[in-house]
């Protein structure tokens, strides 16, 4: 199987505290991979490191063979990597639809925008069509003209997924996509994300909800104190000694029960 | 209803202004960093108006001067001048203090065919404003030349010079240096300080290091007070201090510090000058803060004389009258003797010394 994202020996320390200690893994195209681990195990830092928000101390990150670790976030996005945030903050003075349009960054240059022209109009029409399509698929059509900041937490999550998808990514990284999302909606999300994977988009999902992971992911990466302690299918998680060690050693027995 | 009343009142007031009295205009720095000078100019104008109206007014009616604030800037001055031109329709405008405001003000007035009376700017560039701009104040070349000669005459050769870093300071600095060097002296330290600082100790000490024979300064208000106080505190005041326009340099300084300073000032020894100084003291309860009040006073007096001679407030006629009067008019600041460029050529100055709490001729 070809790989899309390769992470090799990624290390990061904040003021002397090692948060990531030599993380290695790889993801293939269209694969759905979950990242789990107790609080403070470095999941969010890993996502920030891959997407370029946190510069790494050592290690290599490659997307389709191109090294990412020295690139700024917008360059990484340009290579086909999109992400969402754990607590997505949304603009106050832009509607949901406008945020989706803004998420398509093609032809946004100063002169192209000022002069307009046929190509610019065509691009705008294409963006609007795409945004309308995602509004429908993410069940956001009803709040199309609402200020994005006025959405509920769950709707914001969906909107940020929509934003990420407007850029036609090869790899989509989701930071806790289900937190605050209504349980009914959660099921729809599973179907929707599987649909994305079927189109060849790889998904890397940081999540606490083990049911969600179990339904969606083909593979799990378990982080503990900045190290990958296990890589296995969701079904194997409850038998994995390192996973038990990682969770029992921490304050999250509840999560594990859910997984079992 | 109330609005209509307001409009009627405004029209009535405007009519009252134009129909019954000659109104002149003035643009002064009444707010901003030169406000203390603007305030002194305003005192002079108020005194002149009171004097003229006490003697029956002008052309048989009371005289009024509409005073506007320039806010210490060119655009503010242009706002005010446009208002005076377009709404108050005054023939003559007096102003301003800083030459960086007087020049655009004068340019505008000349363009509108109005009379500009420069009562406070002494930069040589004033000369180029145009055909209807008259200077009542001797330009820097006059005062600087007088001061340089005076200082050389006193036997001083090495001079430390300090003035504010503005249009006035930069202008007088250049002129003073030129005349001093021409007479064989040298400026060993030259400081154009940034106005409005809480302390000038550093500047003073920089000058001290060149060990001058005399410190020459020209400052006003709060800055002059701080410079004098700090030179006293640093022991620098033991070397002689020479003030260009000494009365404004020492106006806000305690007598104990100012004692012993020498300098020059616009002559107020003539009868008109002394009458003005006495009247000022009587009216405001303190001695003249600066000679800017007397220039402003003379400005109104000159304009009134010209209008009286022309028997009209029409600007063209006033200009013609001013051209005649300019050569011979004498006011609180002495004889004007305007030259072909309408600039003052003669400016009597006094040599003064500050002794026992007040200024005396030396």
């Amino acid at each position: 199987m070809s790989t899309l994202l390769t992470v090799t020996g990624v290390t990061k320390a904040f003021a002397g505290n090692a948060v990531l200690q030599g993380v290695d893994f790889a993801i293939g195209p269209g694969e759905i991979v979950g990242v789990i681990g107790p609080n403070g195990s470095g999941k969010s830092t890993l996502l920030n490191a891959i997407s370029g928000f946190t510069p790494v101390d050592a290690g290599r990150i490659e997307l389709g063979g191109a090294p990412l670790q020295r690139l700024a976030p917008h360059r990484i996005h340009g290579l086909g990597l999109a992400r969402t945030f754990q607590l997505p903050a949304m603009p106050e003075k832009m509607t949901v639809f406008e945020v989706l349009l803004a998420a398509d960054n093609r032809r946004h240059g100063f002169w192209a925008s000022l002069c307009g022209g046929a190509e610019q109009r065509a691009q705008e029409a294409a963006s609007r069509a795409l945004a309308t399509q995602w509004l429908g698929e993410l069940l956001l059509t009803g709040v199309r003209d609402t200020p994005a900041a006025a959405l509920s937490g769950g709707q914001k999550k969906l909107l940020s997924v929509g934003c990420a998808l407007m850029g036609n990514p090869r790899l989509l990284m989701l930071d806790e996509p289900t937190a605050g999302v209504h349980p009914n909606l959660r099921r729809d999300m599973v179907a929707m994300l599987q649909g994305l994977a079927a189109r060849g988009i790889a998904l890397l999902i940081v999540e606490h909800d083990m049911h969600f992971i179990g339904e969606l992911c083909q593979r799990c990466i378990v982080l503990d104190r900045g190290r990958v302690v296990a890589q296995c299918t969701p079904a194997q998680l409850s038998q994995h000694p390192q996973v038990l060690q990682a969770y029992l050693g921490s304050e999250h027995p509840v999560v594990l029960e859910a997984a079992v | 209803m109330r609005i209509r009343f307001g409009i009627t009142l405004a029209i009535a007031l405007a009519m009252a202004n134009t129909a019954h009295a000659v109104t002149l205009g003035a643009v002064l720095p009444l707010s901003g960093s030169s406000a203390s000078i603007g305030e002194d100019q305003r005192r002079g104008i108020d005194m002149a108006v009171a004097d003229i109206n006490a003697k029956g007014g002008l052309l048989g009616a009371p005289l009024a001067v509409k005073i506007e604030d320039s806010a210490d800037g060119a655009t503010g001055a242009l706002d005010a001048a446009t208002k005076l031109h377009s709404i108050d329709k005054v023939p003559v405008v007096l102003g301003e203090y800083s030459s960086s405001v007087s020049i655009p003000l004068g340019q505008y007035l000349v363009k509108q065919g109005m009379v500009h009376l420069n009562i406070g700017s002494s930069s040589p560039a004033i000369r180029q404003i145009g055909a209807s701009s008259f200077s009542l104040i001797g330009l820097d070349d006059l005062s600087a030349q007088f001061a340089a000669k005076d200082i050389l005459g006193l036997g001083y050769r090495k001079v430390a010079f300090i003035a504010p870093n503005g249009a006035y300071g930069q202008g007088i600095d250049g002129q003073f240096k030129k005349y001093l060097q021409a007479g064989g002296g040298s400026v060993v330290a030259e400081v154009l300080y940034t106005p409005g600082q809480s302390s000038y100790r550093r500047e003073l000490q920089q000058m001290q290091r060149s060990q001058p024979d005399v410190y020459v300064y020209s400052a006003y208000g709060q800055e002059a007070a701080v410079i004098n106080r700090e030179s006293f505190e640093l022991g620098i005041s033991k070397t002689p201090w020479y003030g260009i326009y000494l009365s404004m340099c020492t106006a806000d300084t305690p007598a104990q510090i100012a004692n012993g300073q020498i300098g020059m000032e616009v002559a107020s020894l003539g009868s008109a000058g002394q009458a003005f100084a006495a009247e000022y003291q009587k009216r405001y309860g303190f001695a003249m803060k600066s000679s800017y009040s007397s220039y402003a006073y003379d400005g109104v007096m000159l304009a009134a004389a010209a209008i009286a001679q022309a028997k009209s407030a029409d600007p063209a006629k006033v200009i013609a009258a001013l051209d005649q009067l300019g050569a011979s008019f004498a006011g609180a600041t002495g004889k004007l003797a305007l030259d072909a460029d309408r600039q003052r050529t003669e400016q009597p100055y006094d040599k003064l010394a500050y002794e026992g709490g007040s200024l005396h001729a030396r």
Partner: protein, 295 residues
Amino acid sequence: MFDFCLHVLTLACLYGLMALALNLQAGYAGLLNFGHIAFVGVGAYAVGIGRLAGWPLPLSMLAGVACAMLLGVAVARLGRNLASDYWGIATLAVAEIVRIVVLNQSGMAGGAQGISALPGPLDALPETAQPLAFAVLGLFAVALAAWLSARLAASRFGRALRLLREQPALASCLGYDLGRLKRSATLASAAVAALAGSLLAGYTHFVSPDYLLAAQTFLVWSMLMIGGAGRVAGVLLGTVLVQGVYSFVPLARDLLGLGSETVGALRLGLIGAILLLCLLWRSAGLLPERLRTLP
């Protein structure tokens, strides 16, 4: 009265240009530029220095725009690693340094006294026609700038700027180069502001370091915030209102018939009070930015 209104209108147009320029940065992109007046000053001084060097006016104006844009690049570069409020004070520092340099350059820039007898763009017209012609020119310039700004705000670039202003991290992970967006906004703003400066110098036939005082930046900012940042109509309303207050407060004093002692204090106090009341009454601006609902 007519001439006075023309004067107020002309100044309002020139300040309107400056405010629209600032709106590109502050209103659209959320950049706190407190040194905006530096761009204006560069444009104005280009006309002055151009006169001293004997250049034709259009060339001077073009040079002014080019220099202001260079300064814009430098200022935007400064913003690459500064948080917004620190950047705001840094721009203020840049503007002050520019002012202090021209203040002390008596040879090249006229020093504190400034440069007078500057050429204006309409000098060829007869004297009496100039006020009206300049007002028309100002209106034309401000209308053009307003149309372009509105067009820009509605465009994909404008949308990117809004996203940058509201959620910079989101914009960054959606593939926008924030540094480049800020630079583009600053450059466009610098060009328009320099043009406004050149026109101001041409209108007053004069330029001096006073044109670069920090108070001038604050004046343009108050126009923006009182009218409504981010919305062209708001910015223009704010400009007309603030310029009107500055210009017409002296008339109010004449109506009240007060003596000369209070001129300075009254002007300053009334302006301050009116601005403050406007802010307290409609604290999001008189015409706040609206949501854009798209078809």
